[in-house]
């Protein structure tokens, strides 16, 4: 199936949000996730099954003024 991660189309096997983050080796502590414009708190990542066409935003806090 296909999903969009930060605007880029990606082909993935069906999985949960937590599995995708682990696979991408991202620092979970620093991540903020929006799925189809809904913020998904970290406690719900393991139970959030990704669906075809999902739009994920993977964000984090950075330096800024």
């Amino acid at each position: 199936m296909n999903i969009f991660v930060n605007g880029n189309k990606e082909r993935i096997e069906p999985c949960t949000l937590a599995q995708l983050i682990a696979w991408k080796k991202l620092d979970a502590g620093a991540l903020v996730i929006e799925l189809n414009q809904q913020i998904i708190k970290q406690e719900f990542w393991p139970t959030t099954e990704l669906q075809d066409g999902d739009r994920l935003e993977m964000l984090s806090f950075v330096g800024g003024g």
Binding site: G7, D27, A30, I39, L59, F61, V62, G63, G65
Partner: protein
């Protein structure tokens, strides 16, 4: 001076220097700068993760007793600013939000109209909204009416270090505002921060001038001293300037007179 607290968004601050996390050579300089400057509030930005690169979590460099002020930089309209604000709050950054809506990439001038729209929405949702604006008195009153926690007029364009180019316009806000006025952007030197505080600004926000100094920690300390000096001068009520000289020593009673 201990009882001179800044009440901002329902929270008391004993330090009137707000700082930013942008442009530091390395993030390790941030906690040192915070300790040296005494700053109790610091801005952060929210961006898409670069999935191909390992990045540091900037929040780990900010002590827990320092209040986070996430900004909506990158937003080009009110809708995007509102979205970023909600994400930041959900991510555990608290209720404070600096609204920054910019469409002009040459001078990075804030879009006052979109900023007002975002302020109206977010204040209703319980955010403590600090809108970054070009100083304009009627707009500032509208921001107050919309429930802004403060108004943050720019002194000069972001990152220019040119100081208080908008001084007379900021003065109008200070004289008429019922919310704190925080001079944000353009302050390049401690003397300019002191000048803003002398004229009655409630606080200043300084990022570039500290972060890009050769020694950000020492510059943080310098800005703290300047803000304190300017504030103390404002509270002491300064003597008036005059065109003609006014002798400080008696003009009579000298030796042969």
């Amino acid at each position: 001076m201990n009882d001179d607290v800044l009440l901002l968004g329902g929270k008391e601050f004993s330090n009137r220097l707000l700082t930013g996390t942008g442009k530091f050579g390395n993030h390790g300089q941030i906690p040192k700068m915070l300790a040296a400057s005494g700053s109790q509030m610091i801005t952060v930005a929210l961006r898409r993760v670069d999935i191909s690169a390992q990045s540091e979590n900037i929040l780990e460099y900010i002590p827990k007793n320092v209040t986070l002020l996430p900004n909506t930089s990158g937003a080009r309209n009110a809708e995007q600013a509102v979205r970023v604000a909600r994400i930041a709050r959900e991510a555990g950054c608290g209720d404070f939000i600096k609204i920054e809506v910019i469409t002009d990439m040459k001078y990075l001038m804030p879009d006052n109209w979109e900023t007002l729209k975002a302020t109206e929405i977010l204040a209703k949702e319980g955010f403590q909204v600090l809108p970054y604006v070009l100083p304009d008195l009627p707009l500032a009153k509208r921001l107050e009416d919309a429930g802004a926690a403060a108004v943050m007029p720019l002194g000069a364009p972001i990152g220019t270090n040119r100081g208080l180019e908008t001084k007379p316009l900021i003065a109008m806000l200070i004289e008429n505002a019922s919310v704190p006025i925080v001079v944000d952007a353009g302050i390049g030197k401690p003397s300019q921060a002191a000048a803003a505080m002398e004229m009655g600004a409630d606080a200043v926000l300084v990022n570039t001038a500290i972060a890009t100094a050769r020694d950000p920690e020492a510059m943080g300390r310098a800005f703290d001293l300047a803000v304190k000096a300017g504030r103390a001068a404002y509270l002491a009520e300064m003597a008036e300037a005059s065109t003609l000289a006014r002798a400080s020593s008696p003009l009579t009673g000298f030796l042969d007179e």
